[in-house]
Symmetry: C2
Subunit: 186 residues, 2 copies
DNA sequence: GGAAATCCTTGATCCGGATCAAGATTCTGG
DNA sequence: CCAGAATCTTGATCCGGATCAAGGATTTCC
């Protein structure tokens, strides 16, 4: 069965007909290779993407360094949220870590659909609420002083991350160096 | 003019009749004195509050210490967001820093109103979106390494905070000790 | 399959923010 | 207005995570 269709039903709780109707708007398939950028700083995010297969990182650059702020992986949505919502240039880069297949819907189409499909609108509101709650959780992680505890919290909440993403990106995400992560993982 | 009415119009962009109709649901006035708790850890947040006058801090306790995660001040809304959205016990404390006057609407009333007033629903979605964008900004602040820069970012974004809130709470909010804040403010 | 790039680990050193302490200042509430 | 509490400042010391460095292990992709 179409995995995006299943995502609509199981993750967004959309009824079958609505899920089917929405499917045809998710087009514009994109393929990325390791290192390719899905979105770059300065671009206005014009799509909401569904990841059919692959992993990506979201990062911004701060004084020569890249600071990772999130990940995307198979069967989730990914986008530069602030850029998409505000329709302004993104501060973030979205970069593929390996071969990646995506389906996208354009910003314009998406906002048009929101008006026609009330269930989609409430689904979107739930997504935004969940994203907010996720950030609040993450805030507590970032405020935790001890590196060891920060690692532990992520291990508890998202153990699969450690299977999917090279440690150096996880270290950045956890506000520590790869060395510190390595020393506190065993 | 009623400041809450003005808030509805100017901040939430609600039309005049709708703003007027909503006014009567914001009742249950509460008065707090310095140190009083509006909400405590473990309580389920039953209200959305409008601050008529006063300042509050939002914090949670982590190993004997209190970690400040936000502030509330005159003419803004305040609540324990995760508790209100999820209808679950709050991890946060909301505490008044001085004499404070609030108006509240109950969670039940509020969600009922969302169904009857589409403009309120979209206003709420905007509030959630804005809260999310605010958290994303805050994440960048927290990931900034240098204490001096973290202070600077807050000074740029919310200079009024420094007039309203004692420095020790600001220091906690900025993930540093009061000593470090003091040493880097001049 | 194999060379090259990337990533991970371990060790040694350094430094900036936390901690501890004490005094000065400001705020609070009766 | 005044006493006591809370807050802010400044100084001295300490410590844990960053940095620098190098070798080993994996992964990538022609």
């Amino acid at each position: 069965m179409n995995p995006l269709y299943r995502y609509f039903q199981e993750q967004l709780h959309l009824p079958a007909e609505e899920a089917a109707a929405l499917l045809r708007f998710w087009q514009k398939p994109r393929s990325l290779r390791r290192g390719d950028f899905l979105t770059r700083k300065g671009q206005v995010e014009q799509h909401l993407y569904y990841i059919q297969e692959g992993t990506l990182i979201i990062f911004y650059d701060i004084e020569e360094n890249e600071q990772v702020v999130g990940f995307g992986y198979t069967d989730t949505m990914i986008l530069s949220v602030p850029s998409f919502i505000r329709n302004r240039p993104s501060d973030y880069y979205l970069q593929a870590l390996g071969p990646t297949e995506l389906l996208g819907i354009t910003r314009t189409d998406f906002y048009r659909l929101l008006e026609h499909y009330p269930r989609l609108e409430s689904a979107w509101r739930r997504m935004v609420e969940e994203a907010l709650l996720g950030r609040i959780e993450r805030e507590i992680d970032l405020l935790t002083v001890s590196p060891r505890e920060r690692i532990q919290r992520l291990l508890n909440r998202s153990p699969h991350i450690f299977q999917l993403i090279p440690n150096k990106y996880i270290a950045s995400y956890l506000r520590m160096t790869p060395e510190t992560l390595s020393r506190n993982m065993r």
